[in-house]
């Protein structure tokens, strides 16, 4: 089992995840915009932020895919439901720790409990499970991450038939 199917799955999974989030946004289910959140960590220019954010998002999608690959190797299987379970775990981790706690601490333009008087605009912080971006955000995010994990597992399964 090589890492390439996992990387291909990571790319496809990120496409699926991004599409689901964008669709949910168009349906007014959430205001979460991951490329915007990630990109504004690097630049204040809106258009550039989205471009940078999409790139960063795909890099992270590939990075997490290698992590999934390592986990699949460790447990010795890569069933679709196992991928879905990993995706669920990642979604929960992202909502409770990664985006909720860590991102505000490292994002130079995001408000956090440590914020004080400042001269720059602050981005709305996500809150627990990113519910500040809409009460349906956790459900949307979890579904998207479950599908991300599933896609990686399916790619590995197809490559190793």
């Amino acid at each position: 089992m090589t890492v390439w199917p996992a990387l291909a799955g990571g790319f496809a999974g990120t496409l699926v995840l991004t599409t689901i989030l964008r669709t949910a946004s168009e349906l007014n289910l959430t205001r979460m915009d991951l490329p915007f959140l990630l990109g504004t960590a690097f630049t204040a220019d809106r258009a550039r932020a989205k471009a940078v954010g999409y790139a960063a998002h795909f890099v992270m999608g590939l990075a997490f895919a290698t992590g999934y690959y390592a986990l699949f190797l460790a447990v010795g299987r890569h069933d679709w439901w196992l991928g879905a379970a990993f995706g669920l775990g990642q979604g929960l981790f992202a909502g409770t720790v990664l985006v909720n706690v860590l991102l505000p601490l490292v994002h130079p333009r995001m408000g956090s409990p440590l914020s004080d008087a400042t001269t720059v605009a602050l981005l709305e912080s996500p809150g627990f499970m990113a519910r500040n971006y809409g009460l349906r955000t956790p459900a949307v995010s979890l579904v998207a991450h479950v599908l991300y994990g599933t896609v990686i597992a399916v790619f590995l399964t197809l490559a190793n038939r």
């Binding site: 408000g111 720059v120 605009a121 602050l122 709305e124 809409g134």
Partner: protein, 602 residues
């Protein structure tokens, strides 16, 4: 105490004349004399509103900011800007409120931002602001909460942060966010609405708000400074240009007909329409005005939008298209009470499905003006315009709904026939310039001749020897003046002279002009149509009655409200505004008449 009493509200509704407009090229807010923002669609002009008290004073939502004590008021726009300054004068002192929708710059700002800046001038004035956000035309549930002391209003994919600086401690109570504070000489407070659509909110710092406000004022002034002077009535023309710029949808270049929907043409009546679309009907006026004002980039963007939008339905044209160029404009009604009970409150516009033959003439006239200004029409667009000319040859004998989009039976409207003649005449001229393919030029010219014969035989009153509203009728219609302004016939002919005089005598009421006599398929009446007055002034100039044109124009520019804006119609007996506002066609017609009279005077 200078200033004047603000116009009193009736059943919670301010007179339409009391509204000023601010905007950012994406959306427009209407602010009443008493400091209440009663209209604001988000994120775009044709989106659902967060404030719509002008259509329902109970559930529509609004944002009030005013002294707590009785006040007098004086208003103006900051010179050469769309930034509104309202000075409140009370027994305790004087305070100035400056309202602006800021223009985004290189800093990371909110998706949309509306700033209300309060400056203490004299004495100590107690101020109160209250915000009733009601997303989705007041129909969507709106959740209010405090986040780190900042009030937030959330509804689906839209959110609003109310960032108040030195404007009292914001409090939320009963679906209302508000605060109280006191001004003193030199004090400065800001309440900023920072809006997000499908993205996280942004909370700007005070210094960023100040910088963005300054840059917004500078941006408007830079834009005005680049405009070409157009002779007399320069102040009114500049205000009209700024109003027009507000109506330009920045992402596409489309020009909305007005900023609002369903402001009534008759109080309590059913003539309430959604004007947040771009009408092909206005295209020639729009392009001509943009070119005369020296707005070449806007003219180019507009022409390309027109070509892009009409591609969806080509060679047929819809009377109107959405601001994003889409063709769907399904009409429906909202469960709002309507301005002073004027129902229904409509969104969308069923006129999109009508046949209006004049639109073909407007489009080809627009193309002609565009090419005549030295702009390039590529072969692909030229071929499409030729298809449209061919279509006019097949369609011109059909009845249509006419420029006024009557909902009665289709008729052979004179104006429509004149514009069909203009379509074929301009197609021929464009072909002569090499902008359109030539194979059908002879047919276009032959058909144009036939149209001319039809008009001169069937659309003329024997009794008056002037053009009538439609073939075989004795009714009158001010829209025939557009035939004159678009180049149909000889403007110095006796027939045009008599037509202009007849329109003035029988449709006019002082400086006001009604649209037409006769049936239109709708109940009730309406006010005088502002554009018709300006068309008459321009027509008077074109037929050689320059002194009459100048006198009428002098009267007309005084009919705007205190900040120089025009609605669609005015009730002659009271001067009350009627219909949607600010109305693009009214301001376009003002610019056109002012420039035409200046030209004829030269």
């Amino acid at each position: 105490m200078p200033g004047r009493e603000p116009s009193p509200r009736r059943d919670g509704y301010a007179p339409l004349r009391a509204y000023a407009a601010i905007g950012d090229g994406r959306t427009i807010a209407l602010i009443a004399e008493d400091g209440s923002i009663d209209w604001l669609p988000l994120p775009n002009l044709d989106s659902p509103t967060v404030f719509a008290a002008v259509l329902d004073s109970e559930t529509g939502g609004c944002f009030t900011l005013a002294p707590t004590a009785p006040f007098r008021v004086a208003r103006r726009y900051l010179a050469d800007t769309n930034v509104l300054e309202t000075t409140f004068l009370t027994d305790d002192g004087e305070v100035r409120v400056v309202d602006a929708m800021t223009i985004l710059d290189e800093s990371l700002g909110p998706f949309r931002e509306l700033q209300r800046r309060v400056e203490g001038i004299a004495g100590r004035v107690s101020m109160r602001w209250q915000l009733h956000p009601r997303f989705g035309y007041g129909q969507r549930p709106t959740r209010l909460e405090l986040r780190a002391g900042v009030p937030i209003a959330v509804s689906g994919g839209d959110a609003l942060a109310i960032c108040a600086f030195d404007a009292g401690r914001p409090q939320i109570e009963g679906g209302v966010v508000g605060g109280c504070f006191e001004t003193s000489p030199g004090s400065r407070s800001v309440v900023a609405l920072c809006m997000a659509h499908q993205e996280p909110l942004l909370f700007p710092a005070r210094a960023e708000l100040d910088a963005r406000f300054d840059r917004t004022v500078a941006a408007w002034r830079t834009w005005v400074a680049a405009r070409a002077p157009v002779g007399p009535w320069q102040g009114a023309v500049t205000r009209s240009a700024l109003a027009l710029k507000l109506l330009v949808h920045a992402p596409s270049g489309a020009v909305a007909a007005a900023a609002t929907t369903s402001l009534p043409e008759q109080i309590g009546g059913e003539r309430n329409w959604d004007y947040r679309f771009c009408w092909v009907r206005d295209s020639a006026f729009t392009l001509d005005s943009l070119l005369r004002l020296g707005c070449a980039p806007e003219a180019q963007a507009y022409f390309w939008w027109l070509v892009h939008a009409s591609q969806l339905t080509r060679p047929r044209l819809q009377p109107l298209y959405r601001l994003d160029g889409g063709a769907r404009a399904t009409e429906s009604s909202l469960p709002l009470r309507g301005y002073l009970g004027s129902l229904p409150v409509r969104i969308g516009n069923a006129a999109a499905g009508q046949r209006q033959l004049d639109t073909y003439g407007e489009l080809l006239q627009t193309a002609w003006l565009y090419a005549d200004a030295g702009q390039y029409i590529d072969p692909d667009i030229g071929a499409r315009l030729a298809d449209i000319a061919d279509l006019v040859c097949r369609l011109w004998r059909e009845p249509d709904a006419g420029i006024w989009e009557v909902r009665s039976a289709p008729a052979h409207f004179t104006h429509s026939k004149m514009m069909c003649w203009v379509a074929l005449d301009r197609a021929g001229r464009l072909a002569d310039h090499g902008a359109l393919p030539r194979p059908h030029v002879a047919e276009w010219r032959r058909q144009a001749e036939e149209i001319g014969e039809f008009i001169e035989l069937r659309c003329v009153s024997e009794r008056r020897d002037g053009y009538t509203r439609s073939a075989g009728s004795e009714e009158l219609d001010a829209s025939v003046l557009l035939g004159l302004l678009s180049g149909y016939g000889d403007p110095r002919s006796a027939r045009w002279g008599r037509t202009v005089e007849t329109v003035r005598r029988e449709l006019g009421h002082g400086p006001y002009v009604y649209r037409y006599t006769g049936e239109d398929g709708l109940a009730g009446g309406e006010g005088a149509f502002v554009s018709c007055s300006f068309w008459l002034a321009e027509a008077l100039a074109r037929v050689g009655r320059l002194a009459d044109a100048t006198a009428l124009m002098n009267d007309l520019v005084e009919l705007g409200n205190d900040v120089g804006l025009f609605a669609e119609e005015i009730e002659p007996s009271t001067g009350a505004f009627l219909g949607n506002l600010p109305q693009g066609l009214s301001h376009l017609s003002l610019i056109s008449a002012a420039t035409a009279i200046a030209e004829e005077s030269a």
